[in-house]
């Protein structure tokens, strides 16, 4: 079966990354924003794996695995913080969380 060329993977990852960025900018719910960020991270993973396959080199995949693990931890922490915010406010719209400024 034919090889999928590298640049297709890269383009896909780039698209995913940009979608993630846009999602982060457009959404106001921290959970959704976190999901958008996950999208960006995974775009990175995709690029890593594609390159790893291209170079026949393991380190890219190792990096990807690490990113996945860290993402899990990071998500957990972020959710914990969001919950902490929830405890004070009923909703968690990031626009309401703007006491400090200037």
């Amino acid at each position: 079966m034919p090889q999928v060329p590298l640049n297709l993977y890269l383009e896909l990852s780039a698209v995913l990354f940009i979608i993630g960025v846009i999602g982060f900018l457009l959404r106001r719910n921290p959970i959704t924003m976190l999901m958008a960020i996950e999208l960006m991270w995974n775009a990175g993973n995709l690029a890593f794996i594609a390159f790893a396959r291209n170079f026949i080199d393991m380190s890219g995949q190792v990096f990807a695995f690490l990113v996945i693990t860290v993402a899990a931890a990071e998500a957990a922490i972020a959710l914990a913080i969001v919950v902490m915010v929830f405890r004070r406010r009923e909703n968690a719209d990031v626009d309401d969380i703007s006491v400090m400024r200037g």
């Binding site: 990852s13 993973n45 690029a47 380190s59």
Partner: protein, 477 residues
């Protein structure tokens, strides 16, 4: 010793190992004993720092790698690691104040700080993109939590939320940048990247650009600085102090390693970094002009100071790294000292965050006022203080660093001129005779006198006899 083909030199990994053990011990002690007093836990932490120093000492001036070359001890790591460990110790002392971090489990707080520092140490020593990512994330994840430990204050949780969301966004850029760099070089090791750096292929440029964005976020370089004032204001004083110094130290270690190993002497390839620096110096200095909250003021000042430090690298010169390290040490001393004073006066809480609380402080607490004045002078670069000679070294690098270096140096001068008012308005408040409203508390814990005294001694010593430290620093590399 070698495990499955991976060699571990616990001499090189010594400081990290010591801190790991310390962190675990702290957690265990808290687990077995019930209601262990905070001071004990933090005492263990400080002891760990001492141990880490002892483990770090033999590495002085050594240059070696381990973990199959993924982790090194060399001119980039040693000094920065020392600063990190020192910062950790000071932070633990500040955290031990009465009002500090109420409503948290002190053990997890201390452990988080320690693991945070471990992340920093990993960053300082990492020679691959993987290690750098790992270190940054460990540092950041712990800090996200710590930023929120000022729990009862809504500002604190706001800080945590903003920090975690933007931090993850930055990490996204970092990861994607690393991926592209990996793609451009075919390896995650920095030494392999230098080949690509010489020809600047498209992948490398985009990749390094994205990575730089991630690092700039950590350094709070403008325009990626917007989180800084809020997070610094929201976090507990001790954590803010820690952030201003530790994050800078670790990230500058990475940056310096990049600049020197990847780019060599091609400073044009780093133009975006120079632009960020110039921009930060101006934004930080101007932004601080109108601040009435001392933590926020110091946040803006730290933005400018980060820009100052970049000047050291501008020439990619022989003495650039040592100049950077000297200024970093000076910054650690004066900044931690300033925060120590704030924390001491408020006994850990925010009572003395507002400048108006410092009205006529000199006539109430002369020695504290003098100490804070000294730190502010050093930040402003008044001669006879560490900050002054640090600036001299930075300017030497800048003016020697070609057109971009000169531009950076002039920006440094401009920034310093602007920030005269920034720092002296606090001095003014302390020395102006008419009394302001009396402050809530005026703590005087001997524990915080330690960092203040160390800060004062260090700031004066580095200012008056810099030669000693210059030689220490330069022969550490």
């Amino acid at each position: 010793m070698t495990i499955q083909g991976v060699n571990f030199d616990f001499g090189i990994l010594g400081p990290i190992s010591v801190l790991v053990i310390t962190g675990l011990v702290v957690l265990l002690v808290d687990l077995v004993g019930r209601a262990v007093p905070r001071v004990v836990l933090y005492g263990i932490g400080v002891a760990g720092c001492a141990g880490a120093f002892i483990a770090l000492a033999p590495l002085y001036g050594r240059s070696a790698t381990t973990v199959n070359g993924a982790f090194a001890t060399d001119r980039f790591s040693w000094g920065f690691s020392a600063v990190l460990i020192f910062t950790l110790a000071v932070t633990l002392l500040l955290s031990s104040l009465r009002n500090a971090d109420d409503g948290n489990s002190p053990a997890s707080y201390a452990a988080l700080l320690i693991f945070c520092t471990i992340g920093g140490l990993i960053m300082a020593g990492a020679t691959t993109l993987i290690g750098i990512f790992l270190g940054i994330e460990e540092l950041s994840l712990a800090l996200y939590v710590l930023a929120g430990t000022g729990y009862p204050r809504p500002a604190s949780e706001e800080a945590a939320l903003k920090y975690v969301l933007l931090g993850s966004l930055a990490s996204g850029f970092l990861i994607y940048g690393s991926a592209l760099l990996y793609g451009s070089a075919g390896s995650v090791s920095l030494s392999a990247l230098s080949a690509a750096a010489s020809s600047l292929p498209l992948l490398f440029v985009i990749g390094f650009g994205l990575l730089l964005v991630g690092l700039a976020f950590k350094l709070a370089l403008s325009p990626f600085h917007l989180w800084t004032p809020d997070v610094y204001e929201g976090s507990p004083i001790a954590i803010t102090a820690y952030m201003t110094v530790a994050v800078k130290a670790a990230t500058f270690a990475v940056l310096a390693r990049f600049v020197y190993t990847v780019f060599g002497h091609d400073s044009v390839a780093l133009v975006p970094l120079w632009l960020l620096a110039i921009f930060s110096m101006l934004v930080g200095s101007f932004g601080a002009l109108r601040q009435r909250n001392l933590k926020r003021l110091l946040a803006y000042s730290s933005i400018a100071q980060a820009g100052f430090m970049v000047v050291a690298l501008s020439g990619v010169g022989e003495y650039g790294l040592s100049s950077l390290l000297f200024y970093l040490v000076a910054y650690a001393l004066m900044n931690l000292g300033a925060f120590a004073v704030i924390a001491m006066l408020g006994d850990g809480d925010e009572a003395y965050a507002d400048i108006d609380a410092y009205r006529a402080l000199f006539y109430r607490r002369p020695w504290v006022a003098v100490a804070l004045t000294l730190f502010l002078f050093s930040l402003a670069g008044i001669p006879g203080t560490a900050g002054f000679y640090g600036k001299v070294l930075l300017l030497e690098q800048g003016f020697a660093g070609g057109p971009w270096g000169i531009a950076l140096a002039l920006a440094l001068i401009a920034g310093s001129i602007v920030s005269i008012y920034v720092y002296f308005q606090v001095v003014w408040a302390m020395f102006v005779p008419q009394e302001g409203e009396q402050p809530v508390t005026a703590g005087n814990s001997w524990l915080t006198w330690v960092p203040v005294a160390v800060g004062v001694a260090g700031v004066v010593a580095l200012g008056v006899i810099p030669q000693v430290f210059v030689s220490i620093v330069s022969s550490s590399m």
